[in-house]
Each structure stands twice: as C-alpha cells, then as structure tokens.
Amino acid sequence: MSDPNPYFSQLRKNWHSGGNGGIVVPICSRGRFIALPTGLEAMSTSKPPILPMIGLCLLNLAIATGCGPSLRQMVRAMQPTVRAHPQLQQKLASIKTVAIMPPGATVYQIQVGGPIQVMDEETAAIRATLATAIVQELGRDAGVIFTPFPAPSVVLDAGRRDPAAARLATELEDTTALFEAVSASIVAHTFKHGEGAASDWRFVEKLTNFDYSLGPDVQQFSKLANADALLFTTGADFVSSGGRKAIMVLVPLITGVLGMGYGQPVFLPTGPTLFSVALVDTTTGDILWYNVAGLYGGVYSLTDPNSVTDLTAQVLKDFPLGTRPTRPTRNEYEWSCLPNCSQAGGGQPPR
C-alpha cells in the first residue's frame, strides 16, 4: 500500500534529531540538527516517563529551540495522562463485570523516505498479544470480573453463514474504529502539547466535563457479555524497515565523522508507539476513564511481548476498578497547567 498521506511524508522529511539516550528531538528546519539540552539528557538516563508521544516531542522541541519549559515544568506536563468522566465515581460502584473488547491496534512500517505500510500479519499478532496482556494485567485485580469479548474474526468463525454473527462482527469493527477516532480527539484536545498558545490545542471545557462517548449502541456488546462496563483499547506502532534501520545506524556515524550535525551525530527517530485504553459505560457509551501510554524514541514496541507487558502495566496502572488503590479520577492536575493558574499545584478549574 502506498503512503496515502503526503503530509505525513512531509513530516518525516522534516524530522531530524540529535542527542543521547534514544531521545529524539524533531525540528522543522532545513537540515539543521540540534543537540539535546542538559535537562533532557538527564531525563533520558532515568526511567522513561509515560506520556502521549506528541507531548514529549513538542516539549523536546520547545526546549531544544530555547523557548521551552524547565525540567520540572516538563515532567509536570507529561505525567498525568488519565482523563475521567465527571460521574466516574458514582458509576464505579455499580461495575462488577467488565468486558474486555478486542484491541484495535495496528502496526505500520516506515520505509526509507517512502510509503508507510500497514503490516497485516504483525497487526493480527499484536492484537492477540495485547488481548492476552490486558487479561493478565487486569486478572491481578480482585473484586471485578473481567470477561474477554471475542474478536470479530472469532465471531465470524463461530457463526459461519449466520447473518447475526456477520452483523456483530461488523458492529465490533465499526465501534473499534470509532474508538480510534475518539481517542485521537482526546489526545489532541485534552492534552497540552507544549508551552505557548500556539501549541495549546486543548478544549479546556473537556477537562472539567470530559464527555467523549461511543454512543449507546455499545449496549449490544454489554448485553451479550453480561457486563456492567466495557474496556476498549487501541494502539499504533511504527516500526522501521530493514533499509531504514540500516540508515539509522549509518547516519549517526557519517554525520558524526563529517560534523554535519554541527559537531553532533545525527540520530534518525525511531517510530512511535502509542497505546490507549478506555472504560466505557454500557448504557450511554460515555468514556468514564481514559488513559494513554507511549513513548517516542523506540523504548516500547507493540511487536515485542515483553514491551507489551510493560506498556499494558503502565496504561492500566491507575485503572480505577479492582483492589488497587484508586488514583486521581478527576482532572485536577490539568487545572494547575492552565493559564493563570498556580505553578505550585493548587490550581483552580477553568471557569
């Protein structure tokens, strides 16, 4: 499949990097490469934070271009990734059974200056791996029953020539695709991606009234699974082709020797990995709780089972159900990041 998105190609052409420890600094320039600032180097040697990839990239960029926040501000902006519906606490009490919906993850291959391809086999494989990892991770929680919902292919296989099974499989695929679109909007409009007004794509009302939804059609799944809530997941992994990997090795060597990167070797960015999860109300389809994990720079890969286990643990770390301590279920942390709010953490919700 050829690259259907010329803008993404343009983006890749504009990526350059510099620095250490696998941290990538993307800049939009004409062949200039930049070195990482000290603060970022320090971060790269510690445990990688979990955050939406865009947040990291933009913060890296802001710092690298000299107009970024301090390390403290940066870490503060990165850490909270949970979003919660205003009625989450009331709803939680009635949730005893959760159906784990089939993951909607996709693996893409980034080629050398060329198209991005969907890797069908890898995609099918990671969906299976993710499904297993999610069940294992949530299986540690007591007090709630987690029921895996069959994947569309399983539904189809089980109900061969059964129109109802075909309909259900289509409904599953449609809802998974819808969740992907909803997740994209959540990441774009409820996270701060850097400093300054130009990088603030947040719709602030969504932070106090997190009202994203998949709609009431999800009832059909909850009825079939006899569940009080549904767990949707989606992910994306961008892996480099063999040719690109070779270039990733060669470019730092060449640029280091020739000094093309203003004295610093140039590192091509590895592909990003994102994984998001949502607890969904069975009656309204409202997203009650949402979290996203991922790191730009190749630390995680959905094609590596160990990495999937780590990523799953990270994204479900603050999951509000089960015996684990309930972590923030409101969006207080964001209030402190809004303009005119206190830097000390005592911010007020936007009015």
Binding site: P26, M53, L61, E180, A181, Y212, P272
Partner: protein, 207 residues
C-alpha cells in the same frame, strides 16, 4: 512558510475527516504543525454571526464549537475534534482543477451537473472507500439553486463516516457547505446544528 503550514493543517484535517489518520499519525502531523506554528491559538471558541471576508460569505456559528484559526481558505468548525465532527465551508473558483478528477466547474453548469462533478470527485478519492450515495436532491442554498448530497463511506482505517454536502454556484464560484461525522452516534448528534449553520449561510461577495 505560513502558507505551507496552512496547507499542511488543511491536509491533516482532510485526512482526519476521512479517517485516514490513526491517532498516532494524527499526532505526528499535529507535532509537525505545532512545532512550526507560533503566536496564536490554533482553535478559538465561536458563537453567533461570523463573516469570512476573504472567502465572501457569512454564517451564524453555533455556541460551544471552535474555529480553526490556521485554516485560511475555508471555515472549519468542530466541537469535539475533527475526527468526530466538523463543519466546513469552502469555495472553489470556476476554472480551478479539482484535486482528484482534475475536472473544472463551468459558469453555466446546472446545480445537478455540479452535484455530479462533486460526486465524481468524492468517488475518485482513494481514501474514501465504499462510497454510498444516500441522497441527491436539488435545493435552494443561500437563495440560489443548489443541491444537497448525502453519502456514507469507509475511511482507510475502517471507520464508517457520513457526510452532508450542500453546493451552490454563485457567479464564478462554487460554494461547498459540508458536515461530516462518524456514522455511528456522532453524525446524528450535530446534524441539526449543522442545518442551522447552513440555513444562516449567505454569500456576501458582490458581483
């Protein structure tokens, strides 16, 4: 540079509206744009009458929605994010090539012919799969004879989307007034809001 960014954003928006972008890809495009933009907020809240002088039209914008400030050649609005719904008003000059079919509108084309050209353009877009025409009727738009198309399609990632597409030729420009959202749940949710915007649409360009 600014033009390049505007074009990029519009491309990203286009891809988003087609469901072309997965969250990660959308994020990457977002990164590109954000990293190069500076100064103004990319989205501003809107409500009430809005005049797009550069484009020669005006409309009454719904409360609770936001307008993209870095898109200059059309009016782009959303409430939850462009992947979940958007209203877009744009115009194409007679004689300009369309992106996919390379066809051009002509001054004396009937609304029905313009609708056919628009439909062909949609069907030629490889990112829109299984395009299904649900409605194609002549209709007055902004007081001029126009058309209304309703169609559904699947984006590359499988998302089923639905779009209402009004069009009208006024003097030497074709105006497009579109609303798009995922067919499931989101389309119906804001359809009435869109219709109010469409009813308020007026061409302000003088001959």
């Amino acid at each position: 540079m600014l033009k390049l960014l505007q074009n990029s954003l519009e491309g990203a928006v286009l891809d988003c509206r087609l469901g072309q972008l997965t969250p990660a890809r959308a994020a990457l495009v977002l990164l590109f744009l954000l990293s190069a933009l500076s100064g103004c907020a990319p989205w501003v809240q809107v409500e009430g009458p809005y005049r797009m002088d550069a484009q020669g039209y005006e409309a009454n914008l719904p409360a609770g929605w936001r307008r993209a400030t870095v898109v200059s050649d059309s009016l782009l609005l959303t409430r939850d994010g462009v992947s979940l719904q958007y209203i877009r008003i744009a115009r194409i000059a007679v004689g300009d090539e369309l992106t996919h079919t390379k066809k051009k509108f002509a001054k004396r084309m009937s609304p029905q012919d313009i609708g056919e050209v628009e439909l062909e353009e949609v069907r030629s877009d490889q990112r829109m799969r299984n395009v299904e025409l649900l409605e194609n009727v002549p209709l007055q738009v902004a007081g001029f004879p126009g058309f209304k198309l309703v169609y559904s399609f699947r984006a590359v990632n499988g998302l089923r989307l639905k779009r209402v597409h009004y069009g009208v030729l006024v003097r030497d420009r074709v105006y497009r007034i579109q609303y798009q959202a995922p067919a499931r749940y989101y389309f119906e949710k804001d359809l009435a809001t869109f219709e109010r915007v469409r009813e308020s649409f007026k061409v302000t360009d003088k001959p």
